[in-house]
């Protein structure tokens, strides 16, 4: 089963996306902040990371930088999930190695699922 790591501090969002991806057949792991996220990545590397930007301790962008700086994880698929609207920052994130960013509020869950599935298929990871 395809492993997805969800790094998100808001419980509402956590519950919703866990629900969505589990129903869709993915194995979902949760991390509540950047630190926890980094630990989980190292111990149990996932196939794809859904990364929220606004988080305490280490924020999403910082974690992204960390992941990409590490030889082991630099090819890791990272999708930014955010409700921030700072366009420039988000575009920069793509340049910094994120595969895509999704503005949560703009897409119903099934759209998010589809986008993730596409990314995985592109990488060659089947569900």
């Amino acid at each position: 089963m395809t492993k997805i790591l969800l790094v998100e501090d808001d419980d509402l969002m956590v519950r919703m996306y866990e629900r969505v991806f589990t129903h869709a057949g993915y194995l979902v792991d949760i991390a509540k902040d950047g630190q926890e996220g980094w630990g989980k990545i190292q111990n149990n590397p996932p196939d794809l990371i859904l990364l929220d930007v606004m988080m305490p301790n280490i924020n999403g962008l910082e974690l992204l930088a960390k992941i990409k700086a590490d030889q082991k994880f630099k090819d890791m698929l990272v999708v930014l999930l955010t409700n921030l609207g700072i366009q420039g920052e988000l575009d920069k994130a793509i340049k910094k190695g994120a595969v895509q960013y999704i503005i949560k509020s703009n897409h119903p869950p099934d759209e998010v699922l589809e986008m993730v599935r596409k990314i995985l298929v592109d990488r060659g990871i089947k569900q």
Binding site: D10, M13, V20, T82, Q87, S105, P109
Partner: protein, 849 residues
């Protein structure tokens, strides 16, 4: 005339060498041969002659011998001798003498005398009585005569019997009965006969020789005795040379010493060269010589030689003459050519030479003529050019002379002017005094003005300085000094000039440059602004922990129609606080929108999931409808939050456009498609009209265009009951125009001007009654987006019967802004401050005139 190196001479030499020489050589050789042959032949002939003569001489001598022996056999003589010697009878002597004279001597005319000698050699009898008793015993003819017959020649002059050089023949006389020797008989013969022999038939020989060779006068045939003395010579009497002549010549020697004969050339007794032949009488030791002097022998040759020489000479002269004249035929044309060159050199270029010899010289003449022709041409050309030039020079000369005269007049005029000037000077002095007074007044006024100006500038709460065209600071106010000239902590709020500001600090351009050098090249920007006559704005410059806004504008004066810059004005504003405010505003909105969105996302998402996973539990229509409403509300709220965020960012100028080349046709089609599947369209159509001509790609942000399209289409659908929405694309110069046409009720005129305003406050009842789902910000946002991308948006037309047409344009080329700010700033209608565009904010001083 006879030059050593002329053709003539050469020709001559050639002829002579070629013709005469071989001929000469041949001739000479021939002559030599002939000489040799002649020599041989003459020699032969002489030899034959000598041989013949020898024979004759021999014969004659034999006859003499015979005669003498005959005498010796005479009995009477013998008996007489016996008697004389025995009895010594004088009678016998007499009788014998008589006998000798009468009977014997007469037998031979050449016999000059006879001697009878006794055994003692005494003459006992003779034809001449006078010699009786002479002693002849010493003579070899007595001695040898006793042994046998003996012939000898005796060289004496007028000796025995009065003859010269007799031939003496002696023979023994013997007793008739006993045979004993009685004595010797000696005959004395005259050499005349031999002479005759040698010369007698000589005539004949001579004739023979003459016949063959012409003239032979000097043939000599003679005898030489053992003493090498000539003793018989046919022409003795005439001959100069006597018998005393020594003939010690080659043939004589050869005969006497070697007993050999010879034929050939040698020197004779006179030392002359002769051809001769010798015959050798070996026993008698006589040499017979037949000689012809070479001169005469070779006379014919000489003649031939002479003739030959004459011929050659004549030939030679003929050749010379021929050479002379033939040379002319050669040198003639050459001379002609030579003359022609002289003529042409002298200047007559038209001269052509005519030579018709048919040989190389004629060819040369043709070539020569050609060359002359060419020369003439170029000369003519040159002449033409020279003429032209000369004419030009003449013209120039005339002009020069003209200028010269005009110069003269100018000089005069100048002198006049000088005089006038002097007069003026005086007048000026007077004026000056008056003017000075006025200037004084003026200066005072200006100073006043200046002070006012300075005070105003100094009181500004933004930094201000002014530079001249050399970028040197003319005026600078305290705020500028504070901001730019010296570093301190800038603890004062911006815009407040305190007494603590060091107003006397020197601040030159280089100081400011130094301060700014790390972040900003002030000089370069100033130069650019001045050069391009355009203002430049730096919206944000981070400098020493402050954020500055710098605005520079060239100072321009209009001289006639020319615009000249004489300097620049620079404003510096510390916008740190404003920025901070802005940033916090931005942050506020970001965080606010984020906080609002998160729960909204949860509501929307979960309701969607409920509908998805628990569809079977939602059979109850009311339940289903309520879930749906919750979802819809969430969506609507999310949209409102998005709009608020957009507006705030757009108004702050923080919106970034991801511009790219966009295919509008595809984008429009896609958008319509999406709208049809996700939006509610009632029962209206939404379609795109196919463009009539190919639509070029536009330079814009795809997502934002979509946003605008959705906004317009959405509005159209909202206010249309039947029919539908059509989107049309058109080309206009530099832009593409997109029109959204609906078949609705149109928009009342009083509302039209409120359309693109924020919140559209003065809405009509029509709008509010229709329970707008929108925020009222849609068109406002669309306007800002389109204008931010460099296009225009507006309501094109509205008709209650036909419907409304909204349209917007997008640029084909990327838009470049006149300022160097990095962010495209849309116009903010609220604020009075307008950013400069197209040089409208130039500080214009005005016309100088």
């Amino acid at each position: 005339m006879f030059k050593l190196k002329s053709i003539r001479t050469k020709l001559l030499l050639v002829f002579l060498l070629g013709a005469v020489l071989p001929f000469g050589i041949f001739g000479v050789l021939n002559i030599q041969n002939s000489k040799a042959d002649l020599e041989k032949e003459i020699g032969n002939k002489l030899s034959i002659l000598a041989d013949a003569k020898e024979g004759q001489v021999f014969a004659y001598l034999d006859s003499l011998e015979g005669r003498t022996m005959d005498f010796s056999s005479d009995g009477f003589i013998r008996d007489s001798l016996k008697e004389i010697t025995g009895k010594n009878s004088q009678q016998a002597v007499r009788t014998l003498n008589e006998h000798l004279v009468k009977n014997k001597k007469v037998l031979d005319p050449t016999l000059a005398g006879i001697l009878i000698l006794d055994l003692k050699g005494k003459v006992v009898a003779s034809t001449d009585e006078r010699v009786i008793g002479d002693d002849e015993s010493a003579n070899d003819y007595f001695v040898d005569g006793q042994k046998g017959v003996f012939i000898t020649e005796v060289r004496e002059k007028g000796g025995h019997f009065g003859i010269d050089n007799p031939i003496v023949v002696a023979t023994p006389l013997t007793d008739m009965t006993t045979g004993g020797s009685l004595g010797v008989l000696v005959n004395f013969f005259d050499a005349g006969k031999i002479q005759n022999i040698l010369s007698g038939q000589f005539q004949l020989e001579k004739g023979a020789l003459i016949m063959e060779t012409g003239q032979v006068k000097t043939l000599e045939v003679y005898l030489v005795n053992r003493e090498k003395k000539m003793f018989i010579h046919p022409q003795r009497s005439e001959h100069k040379h006597t018998s005393e002549m020594l003939n010690d010549t080659a043939p004589v020697r050869l005969c006497l010493e070697n007993q050999k004969e010879m034929t050939g050339k040698y020197l004779n007794y006179n030392g002359e060269e002769v051809i001769g032949a010798s015959m050798c009488f070996v026993s008698r030791k006589w040499v017979l010589l037949a000689e012809i002097p070479i001169r005469e022998a070779f006379a014919p040759i000489v003649q031939m030689q002479t003739r030959f020489g004459v011929t050659i000479g004549g030939f030679g002269i003929l050749l010379i003459l021929i050479a002379f004249f033939s040379a002319n035929t050669l040198t003639g044309p050459i001379k002609k050519l030579h003359k022609a060159t002289e003529v042409i050199t002298a200047g007559n270029l038209g001269f052509r030479v005519e030579i018709k010899t048919g040989d190389e010289i004629e060819q040369l003449s043709h070539a020569f003529n050609e060359m002359a022709g060419k020369l003439q041409e170029s000369y003519a050309g040159l002449e033409g050019k020279v003429k032209e030039r000369t004419e030009e020079l003449a013209v120039k000369l005339a002009e020069l002379q003209k200028s010269n005269t005009s110069l003269g007049s100018t000089e005069k005029a100048m002198l006049n002017i000088l005089e006038d000037a002097r007069g003026l000077e005086e007048a000026l002095k007077v004026e000056k005094a008056g003017v000075e007074k006025k200037v004084e007044e003026r200066t005072y006024q200006l100073r006043e003005e200046q002070s006012k100006l300075k005070a105003s500038i100094d009181s500004l709460n933004v930094g201000f300085f002014l530079v001249d065209s050399a970028l040197e600071i003319m005026i600078i106010n305290p705020v500028a000094k504070r901001l730019l000239c010296y570093s301190d902590n800038h603890s004062h709020p911006v815009g407040v000039v305190t007494s603590q500001d060091n107003l006397n600090v020197q601040c030159q351009m280089q100081d400011i440059e130094k301060e700014l050098q790390e972040v900003f090249d002030l000089r370069a920007s100033l130069q650019k602004s001045i050069a391009e006559k355009k203002p430049i704005e730096i919206k944000e410059l981070e400098f020493k922990n402050r954020t500055m806004r710098i605005f520079m504008s060239p100072i321009v004066i209009i001289e006639n129609i020319e615009i000249k810059t004489i300097g620049a004005v620079v404003l510096v504003e510390d916008i740190t606080e404003a920025k901070i405010l802005e940033r916090s505003k931005d942050e506020f909105f970001s965080i606010a929108s984020h906080e609002l969105r998160t729960p909204l996302t949860a509501i929307r998402g979960n309701t969607a999931l409920i509908e998805q996973y628990y569809a079977k539990d939602l059979k109850e229509p009311e339940l289903k409808s309520m879930i749906s409403d919750i979802n819809e509300s969430a969506v609507r709220l999310i949209s409102i939050v998005n709009d608020f965020l957009d507006v705030s960012r757009l108004e702050m100028g923080k919106l970034e456009y991801k511009t790219a080349q966009i295919d509008l046709v595809a984008l429009t089609k896609n958008t319509i498609q999406e709208y049809m599947t996700t939006g509610s369209i009632k029962n209206l159509y939404v379609r795109m009209e196919e463009p009539k001509e190919p639509v070029p790609a536009v330079f814009a942000d795809a997502d934002r265009i979509k946003q605008v399209l959705i906004n317009l289409i959405g509005n159209a659908i909202k206010f249309t009951e039947k029919g539908g929405v059509t989107v049309k694309l058109e080309n206009i110069p530099d832009f593409v125009k997109i029109s959204v046409m609906d078949t609705g009720k149109g928009i009342p005129e009083e509302n039209q001007k409120l359309l693109f305003r924020r919140f559209q406050q003065a809405g009509s009842s029509l709008y509010t009654r229709d329970a707008t789902k929108g925020t009222g910000l849609g068109l406002y946002i669309s306007k800002m987006i389109i204008e931010g991308m460099g296009g225009k948006i507006g309501l094109e037309s509205s008709d209650p019967q036909k419907g409304s047409v909204f349209s917007f344009t997008l640029p084909i080329k990327p838009v470049s802004s006149p300022s160097t700010s990095q962010i495209l700033t849309p116009k903010i209608p609220q604020t009075k401050q307008s950013t400069p565009s197209n040089g409208q904010n130039l500080a214009v001083i005005g016309s100088v005139r």
